[in-house]
């Protein structure tokens, strides 16, 4: 039985191989990814903490069942983010209604605005934070998740491509359009630009 220190030194790929024969080893993978995945699922689903935990449990179960589909040519993080993305989308389709919880503590969405330096410089109303947040929450999921992956999760285009299973060009288009949508929405709200 490996101790905590030894487990921490293991790579994701090594843990995957161990987890195939030992469910407890899968716990080590879950420990590594539960934090980032919780935040990611919460951002794109906009559900409350309890609902997100339920989703996350389903995601980990799916990941465990599909361990043999994972190949080391792909980053494990991309692979498990992909499962998370697919599960959230499936969940949306099932429930169709999306309750919105405005989490005022999470200002990670501001990173999307800051990433577009032109947009941030142009904003004169620095107190328009709430409106910008609404703009991001209002946009279709496909744009929001691309923006979240790029600017909040700091994923490279290659990783986003693997997570969303879309060509790189399409990913770039989604991000560009997402930023345009924010700009359009906040201009409509009368937020001043320089």
């Amino acid at each position: 039985m490996l101790n905590l220190e030894e487990l921490e030194k293991k790579t994701d790929q090594e843990l995957v191989e161990l987890a195939k024969d030992d469910q407890e080893m899968f716990g080590a993978l879950m420990a590594r990814y539960q934090g980032p995945l919780f935040a990611y699922v919460k951002r794109i689903s906009q559900l409350g903490n309890e609902d997100v935990e339920d989703l996350l449990q389903d995601i980990f179960v799916k990941a465990y069942l599909n361990l043999n589909s994972y190949e080391s040519s792909l980053k494990f993080s991309s692979w498990i983010y992909r499962i998370s993305h697919n599960h959230v989308v499936d969940n949306f389709r099932r429930i169709s209604a999306r309750p919105r919880i405005l989490n005022t503590e999470d200002d990670s969405w501001m990173r999307i605005v800051r990433a577009d330096t032109d947009l941030e410089k142009e904003l004169a109303d620095k107190d328009c934070a709430g409106k910008i947040k609404e703009a991001i929450e209002r946009m279709p999921l496909k744009y929001r998740e691309a923006l979240v992956l790029r600017f909040v999760e700091d994923k490279e285009y290659e990783e986003i491509m693997d997570i969303l299973q879309k060509p790189k060009g399409t990913v770039a288009t989604l991000i560009a359009r997402g930023k345009k949508l924010i700009e359009k929405d906040i201009k409509k709200k009368g937020i001043r630009f320089f």
């Binding site: 195939k20 469910q23 407890e24 899968f26 716990g27 879950m30 420990a31 539960q34 934090g35 919780f38 935990e53 996350l56 449990q57 980990f60 179960v61 465990y64 069942l65 599909n66 361990l67 043999n68 589909s69 491509m161 299973q165 879309k166 060509p167 790189k168 060009g169 399409t170």
Partner: protein, 270 residues
């Protein structure tokens, strides 16, 4: 959230879950690639059949007809095969996207690659007469196919539009008697202005295509008479049971021994 890890592991144990075996994922990928291959192969067949039908059109005849070549093009473009080609190419794209790495490629790349493959295979299929076989098969076995994919026999059975074809029954000084493709008898008048085309003499037992004007009551005034060539015998007279057999077994009356009426591979349009 430590609870979450414990709960999940407990659930895995309680429900006795195990990772799905690798062969399932391999098989799924193989299945999708097989579907891609099938879609591409049948696309090539559809392309080959469409090209075959296009080659069967008597392009020189319509210029004499009302509406001209353009109308003929619209009437006889092989829409069915084009539609089948489009659907199958769409299916190929869909299945490629379902494969393990398929999502990496833009739709334009997938489309161009598939199209190139279909063009190459379709060309080979055309020269291997697969298009002809596909068309014959559909003509004989698929209900309504002949309604939506009219062949040249349709064009030459439009006496009211000035197109007539059939077997020569009698030859006179300035008229010939023919039996058309539907068995109706016609008296075709020929003048010194009538244009004659084709390698064969006008003689009893021969086959002709005539462009001119129907005067009603089984009388036709010829502007152009063509002997030989054209694909007008589909489904008629012979036993169409396969590519080679169709041609060889067609021994209907009026067909010359070597069957030179049949345009297409093996037969010459002179």
């Amino acid at each position: 959230m430590k609870d979450l890890i414990q709960k999940t592991i407990a659930r895995l144990k309680m429900e006795k879950m195990k990772p799905l075996p690798k062969w399932r994922f391999v098989l799924t990928d193989v299945a999708y690639w097989s579907l891609v291959a099938l879609a591409v192969i049948f696309s090539a067949v559809a392309l080959s059949a469409g090209v075959y039908l296009l080659f069967q059109i008597d392009w020189d005849a319509p210029k004499y007809a009302p509406g001209g070549t353009l109308r003929t093009l619209f009437l006889y473009i092989p829409y069915v095969w084009l539609a089948i080609l489009a659907i199958l190419m769409g299916a190929a794209f869909f299945f490629i996207r379902k494969t393990k790495e398929g999502y990496r490629y833009r739709w334009a790349v997938i489309l161009l690659s598939s199209l190139s493959l279909v063009l190459a295979m379709g060309t080979a299929a055309h020269f291997a007469r697969i298009g002809m076989v596909a068309d014959d098969f559909a003509y004989r076995r698929v209900p309504l196919y002949r309604n939506v994919a009219p062949g040249m026999e349709h064009m030459w059975q439009r006496a009211e539009d000035g197109f007539l074809a059939g077997e020569i029954e009698s030859v006179g000084k300035d008229k010939i008697g023919i039996v058309d493709l539907e068995g109706k008898k016609w008296e075709v008048s020929i003048s010194e202005n009538t244009v004659r085309r084709g390698p064969f003499e006008i003689e009893e037992g021969g086959w002709v295509k005539v462009i001119g004007k129907s005067l009603g009551s089984g009388v036709f005034e010829a502007q152009v008479i063509m002997t030989g060539g054209g694909r007008m015998m589909r489904g008629l007279g012979g036993d169409i049971s396969g590519r080679g057999e169709f041609r060889r077994s067609f021994d209907g009356p009026g067909v010359r021994g070597d069957g030179r009426m049949m345009r297409g591979p093996g037969y010459r349009w002179e």
